[in-house]
């Protein structure tokens, strides 16, 4: 049973597709990098997977997963950093699935939250308001919350943007830990070195799938060139799609 099954998916806004005719499967426990130039549709695809964007066409199957089995870390989180909430409480919202509207935060939950905060290296920050954190620290906080969500499928949208190398190393270790635990991880990334060294599978996206498979086979200069060229063609007055069948393959 695939963790994710794309069936001729087209995603976009206002009838303009951002991702065209994507078909394929992500195996459970896979560690997939989604790469492509800006505007390639990476974020759009991830938004489609977590269900905040409905496909224009086709369908995405979550292979028996509930929408709540997904942890999603958006690229530019719409977080109101001025809101008076502590790191502890903010990370604690990751337990929503267990606590819901009214569930109390007991001793066990408190320990879980503290451990999550510790495992992203933010011991001692528990009572700090989130407004006082640096960009890298905030990203660590968001990773801590993902950690608590204990999700089968983890979707990260450019999680290492504007993050220093130390933080990146720490958080990447966490991603690999999740992979080791058998969780399925999808991450939109720009750092080709990182993809080559740490991600087993890669989807090259350029408003449609360019290539998809084991990273070593997929990450070629040719594919990246193709991706670059395909992204340039955005036409506001485009006619309805004639179902050009770009080849895509299953993982």
């Amino acid at each position: 049973m695939a963790a994710l099954h794309f069936h001729n998916v087209t995603l976009g806004y206002d009838r303009h597709p951002a991702v065209h005719h994507l078909s394929g499967e992500v195996a459970p426990g896979a560690l997939v990098a989604v790469i492509g130039p800006n505007g390639a549709g990476k974020s759009t695809l991830l938004r489609g997977i977590v269900g905040i964007l409905k496909p224009l066409d086709g369908s995405i199957h979550l292979g028996g997963l509930d929408a709540r089995d997904i942890a999603y870390l958006p690229q530019s989180a719409e977080i109101d950093r001025s809101f008076p909430i502590s790191v502890f409480d903010f990370v604690g919202t990751g337990l929503w699935r267990g606590t819901g509207l009214f569930g109390g935060i007991g001793k066990v939950a408190r320990d879980k939250i503290l451990r999550a905060i510790a495992s992203v290296g933010l011991n001692g920050f528990e009572n700090r308001p989130i407004g006082t954190l640096s960009g890298g620290q905030m990203q660590r906080v968001l990773f801590a919350r993902v950690l608590l969500q204990n999700a089968r499928l983890i979707v990260l949208d450019e999680p290492f943007n504007a993050i220093d190398s130390k933080t990146t190393t720490d958080l990447l270790a966490l991603v690999k830990h999740w992979h080791g635990e058998g969780r399925t991880v999808l991450a939109a990334l720009h750092d080709m070195e990182m993809v080559r060294n740490h991600f087993t599978e890669t989807l090259v996206l350029a408003r449609g799938p360019v290539a998809w498979g084991p990273t070593a086979e997929v990450l070629t200069p040719e594919n990246l060139m193709v991706a670059m060229r395909m992204c340039e063609a955005f036409d506001d007055t485009a006619a309805a799609c004639a179902a050009d069948d770009i080849s895509s393959r299953a993982a």
Binding site: D80, F83, F90, W96, R97, L101
Partner: protein, 289 residues
């Protein structure tokens, strides 16, 4: 002497005791709502809603005279209609909440003014639109207390999703569907508390006892729970001091309450521990780490 000035009015006159009870009920329910309005950057939404309920109250008045139940019902219907329509339009289209709310409250206001001007106006209506906390009868006081109780209960139910939706709406959307209902329930609470407030302070000042205490609290704490407590206390103190001021002078009670709150606000802006002007001008030496 001090006793006569500060406590005497309340032991001596029943209408002052009723007014104090009403203002405390308003503070308990309205101030927390105000804190959330402020944190969600909806302070002016409260003001717009105050305008939206005015025509509803006017219709209630025209249909059944100076009956506070009718006026409350009218205000609630108008307020709910505007709040829910605005919320639904904002959620189902790309229009921002403030823009859709502006449209609906202006429409509501225009409709109300039209109805009033066709049916002719009345000095009593004016009196009620500007409120009179000193003329609380048993029935009105019960309505105010009931609304305050409902507000606190509902707020307790929607507290968690409301907080999460305020900080990180996208996250809440991915884990739960509670965000939308919580938001609508919150708008309903805003309306209930505005209607509640207009019996005491009038539609135009009702929002004052919600927003001003929230603004005050913002200068004294960075913690949500503490902010809510401070706001409630600030509202109650303003209410009490405003009543005394109004009793001892000839200042009408509603404006007196809001003016006291304004003084507290100015003091907070100047001397507040969190981001107050004096703190910013004289921050002291920087710390080690």
């Amino acid at each position: 002497m001090v006793y006569d000035a500060l406590i005497g009015p309340f032991t001596e006159f029943e209408f002052m005791r009723r007014a104090l009870a009403a203002v405390i009920a308003l503070s308990l329910a309205g101030a927390p709502i105000g804190v959330f309005l402020m944190l969600r950057r909806m302070s002016l939404v409260g003001d717009a809603m105050a305008h939206a309920i005015l025509p509803g109250a006017a219709v209630g008045f025209l249909l059944s005279g100076l009956n506070l139940f009718a006026m409350t019902a009218g205000g609630l219907i108008a307020g709910f209609a505007v709040a829910i329509l605005a919320g639904v339009v904002a959620r189902s289209t790309g229009l921002k909440e403030d823009a859709s709310l502006a449209t609906f409250y202006l429409a509501s206001l225009a409709l109300g003014v039209t109805i009033v001007s066709i049916k002719g106006t009345n000095i009593d209506l004016l009196h009620v639109l500007f409120g009179n906390i000193l003329a609380m009868d048993d029935q009105t006081l019960l309505v105010v207390a009931f609304n305050a109780t409902v507000t606190l209960l509902v707020l307790a139910v929607i507290y968690r999703p409301l907080v999460i939706e305020s900080v990180d709406p996208l996250f809440l959307r991915t884990v739960s569907r509670a965000g939308g209902p919580a938001h609508l329930a919150f708008l309903a609470l805003v309306v209930i508390n505005l209607v509640n407030g207009f019996q005491a302070l009038g539609t135009l000042l009702a929002v004052g006892l919600m927003i001003l205490p929230a603004g005050i609290a913002r200068f004294w704490s960075r913690d949500l729970t503490a902010m809510i407590c401070i706001a409630v206390v600030a509202a109650a103190v303003s209410g009490y001091a405003g009543l005394v001021l109004s009793f001892q002078t000839r200042v009408p009670s509603g404006p007196a309450i809001i003016l006291v709150a304004t003084v507290l606000y100015i003091v907070s802006v100047l001397f507040g521990r969190v981001g107050g002007v004096v703190r910013q001008l004289f921050p002291g030496r920087h710390l080690e780490a």
